[in-house]
């Protein structure tokens, strides 16, 4: 089969690009541990029993080590439980989130924390907050008439 010289160049370029993307994806998934938000929990729970299901029976901030925390957060229409979190600078927080009613969003602008809060599912991600300041937590999934008011704060001292 005859392939034009220029055609060979762009095919090589395209295939090389595909391999670069796949290699980066592979490294970030297997070496850097970047996985999907719900891959940490291999079970779903009854969304009508959020307040009885651990860890959501006791939502809040739990210190798990030196400068490491676990934040168990429930989204509801239209807010978050707990409604404010405070940690010292340099802390790593593991966020475990779910919803008690409809699908909500859990986003901290300026960071990679961006989760869906899904009834009956536990989504998880972690982030290290090195810069002190006030971080906004907001809902980015339209959840009802009060959606625009659904926000909370994370204070890093």
């Amino acid at each position: 089969m005859h392939i034009h010289r220029l055609e060979k160049i762009w095919l090589t370029f395209g295939i090389a690009m595909l391999f670069v993307f796949l290699i980066v994806l592979g490294i970030s998934a297997f070496a850097m541990g970047m996985d999907t938000p719900n891959s940490h929990e291999h079970h779903s729970f009854d969304p009508t029993k959020v307040s009885e299901t651990p860890p959501f029976d006791n939502p809040g901030l739990i210190q798990t080590g030196d400068k490491s925390y676990e934040a168990v957060i429930i989204g509801y229409g239209f807010g978050y439980t707990p409604d404010e979190i405070e940690v010292p600078a340099g802390s790593t927080i593991v966020f475990k989130v779910t919803s008690s009613d409809v699908v909500h969003g859990f986003e901290i602008p300026g960071t990679n924390v961006n989760l869906m809060m899904i009834p009956g599912e536990v989504n998880q991600t972690s982030h290290t907050f090195n810069k002190p300041g006030e971080y906004l937590i907001l809902c980015n999934e339209y959840c009802g008439v009060g959606h625009q008011m659904m926000a909370s704060r994370l204070i890093v001292r």
Binding site: H2, H4, L6, W10, G14, M17, F21, V24, T111, N112
Partner: protein, 58 residues
Amino acid sequence: MAKLGPYQEKMPQGETKKKETSAEQEHSLRGTFASVMILGFIIGVSWLGIFILFMMRN
């Protein structure tokens, strides 16, 4: 001999083949090449930009 259509010209076999080959070689793919490369550049740059942003925020 088969009947020729209105747009077919009667010509010897060898001549037809020669004409087809030269027509294929005449195709210039430089414009296509340029557009493919421009598109590839745009995809590559946007991907890299987003990836750098992601790594910086991590």
